[in-house]
């Protein structure tokens, strides 16, 4: 099977020749081809080349457009700095001091340079390897983007102080996420990843009453575009699982502090679980044998349908042999 066929087979309830391998690569991929993170995040040609080469070399089934959290934030007008070897930095959250939503424009994903660069990455994947690999676009979830625009602490206080405002802000973020997802799907993405990590830091009550409805609208909109949805909320999300179960997701990433068996119990038999090898203690610091056996253990706990991944991003200083061990083919039972 080709990587994309294998991936679709799992999503469609069929039997793949081996489990799809879906590790999240950023800085690792950049440095693996002799480039650096700043270039990977600011120039889609570097991102595309790095991910394609890693996919070929390690046997990865999905090409991803993820890079850093600030594509949309830049589109909304925030100044972003690109350190050579670090993650881009948002110099000033646009709504940090003045929360007025009227000041927020609606960025056009084909015009805002950092958003356009991601759309271009998807187009380049499509042109170079479209039929062969699954292509995943990427958008920030409602809580993540709201936190980027307001500053995390301000946004957390908004959730309690002024839920109506927090909700209106997240609605604006979802409008843009939908526009951005649509542009990426049009360019060739078969899947849209949604990153909403800060949601892991709020109570189940706040998550379910305020954040979940916005995530639900985003998921439904992507499904209307006939694309698949992969949700990524790293960290400990045990308390959020029952809410997440209601989102109608195709794939959910599970980080290493959450038990895959419990995730399966709460999320049900149809959703694809991806994860949850510990990215640092195991993938970066473990031996190839320990990693390969951790992946099998994850599969045993999660049951079908399952895809291979670490709990979160593959750390930059992971030895290549360790990533190869994570991606070692596993024939499904």
């Amino acid at each position: 099977m080709e990587p994309r066929e294998r991936y679709m087979a799992v999503l469609e309830g069929g039997r793949p020749d081996m489990l799809p391998r879906m590790p999240i690569l950023m800085q690792f991929a950049a440095e693996h081809i002799g480039s650096y993170y700043g270039a990977f995040a600011s120039d889609h040609r570097v991102l595309v080349e790095a991910n394609l080469r890693c996919a070929e070399e390690f046997g990865i089934d999905q090409l991803s457009a993820i890079s850093d959290p600030y594509r949309e934030t830049a589109g909304f007008g925030a100044p972003i700095e690109f350190p050579r070897n670090g993650v881009p930095i948002c110099l000033k959250p646009p709504l940090e001091e003045d929360p007025d939503l009227a000041r927020l424009s609606r960025p056009d994903p084909l015009k805002a340079p950092r958003m356009r660069d991601r759309v271009d990455a998807v187009s380049a994947y499509k042109a170079r390897a479209g039929g062969r690999y699954s292509i995943m676009g990427w958008v920030e979830g409602p809580a993540a983007e709201a936190a980027d625009l307001r500053g995390v602490s301000n946004f957390f206080v908004d959730l309690l102080d002024d839920p109506a405002y927090a909700s209106a802000l997240m609605a604006r973020c979802v409008d843009t996420a939908i526009d951005f997802a649509r542009a990426q799907v049009a360019a060739g993405a078969d899947t849209v990843g949604i990153g909403d990590a800060v949601a892991s830091q709020v109570s189940a009550k706040l998550y379910e009453s305020l954040i979940l409805p916005h995530e639900r609208r985003l998921v439904a909109a992507v499904h209307e575009m006939r694309a698949r949805v992969r949700l990524h909320i790293c960290g400990n999300i045990r308390h959020l699982l029952s809410g997440i179960a209601s989102l109608g997701l195709d794939i959910v990433d599970i980080d290493h502090m959450v038990s895959l068996a419990e995730a399966r119990r709460v999320l049900g038999p149809n959703i694809v679980l991806a994860g949850n090898v510990d990215p640092v203690a195991c993938v970066m610091r473990g031996s190839p044998e320990a990693i390969a056996s951790a992946v099998r253990q994850c599969y045993a706990e999660a049951g079908e349908p399952f895809m291979v991944a670490a709990g979160c991003e593959i750390p930059a200083s992971t030895p290549p042999a360790n990533l190869a061990a994570l991606c070692r083919p596993i024939v499904p039972r």
Binding site: G86, V157, L160, H239
Partner: protein, 211 residues
């Protein structure tokens, strides 16, 4: 409920306006400002820290509790200063260079303030040289370093080394953040580590009091 008990509850519930009004009422009723801090605010923040540690509350609830404490302190501070009561210990805190994660560091700062430290927050992405010059300027008893990324753990090592080098006054160093462990703290030569903000407050007191 006495006024102090109500104030204690208002801080836990993150009711900042109530906290302010209750602190004022306690003063009006003749309470000693130092007692208001010790009997209502410090225990309230300790309770908040414990609830956070046991996942009963999460980051937003902790932030509003901290704000309520700050409001109450706003009322008490002029009286504390007039009475010559100032926090006995000063602490400095920051997230190391290259690292932008500041939620955990902010919560530690909150709990340190809640246990009656004067806290100077240097923010995130703080170079070692800035820690050193701030230590020279403020002469703190304690400095806290936070790191959330494995890639910034070397910056933490570097910062500890700079603080221990000649030209920097002696100070207790605490380190923390999700990837940091007691073992790592020992390796880099820090004086203390804590896995969460509530324990960070206990540990901080123990460290400065033993000095």
């Amino acid at each position: 409920m006495t006024t102090l008990e109500q104030l204690y509850q208002a801080v836990i519930d993150g009711k900042n306006k109530d906290a302010r009004a209750l602190a004022q009422r306690a003063l009006d009723e003749g309470a000693n400002p130092g007692d208001i801090v010790d009997k209502a605010l410090v225990p309230a923040m300790a309770a908040v820290g414990e609830r956070f540690k046991s996942n009963e509350i999460f980051v937003p609830e902790m932030l509003v509790a901290a704000r309520a404490m700050k409001e109450a302190m706003g009322v008490l501070e002029p009286r504390l200063v007039a009475a010559g009561i100032t926090p006995k210990y000063t602490a400095l805190i920051g997230t190391v260079q290259g690292d932008l994660h500041d939620i955990g560091k902010n919560l530690v700062a909150v709990m340190w303030r809640g246990s009656n430290f004067r806290v100077i927050d240097l923010g995130s992405n703080v170079p070692a040289t800035k820690f050193v010059s701030a230590i020279n300027e403020h002469r703190p008893h304690l400095v806290g370093l936070s790191a959330l990324l494995t890639t910034t753990m070397p910056a933490m090592v570097e910062t500890v080394r700079a603080i221990r080098s000649a030209g920097c006054p002696p100070v207790k160093i605490m380190v923390g953040g999700a990837p940091i462990s007691q073992q790592f703290a020992d390796e880099v030569g820090a004086d203390g580590f804590a896995p969460d903000a509530a324990s960070a407050a206990e540990k901080a007191r123990a460290l400065v009091e033993s000095a």
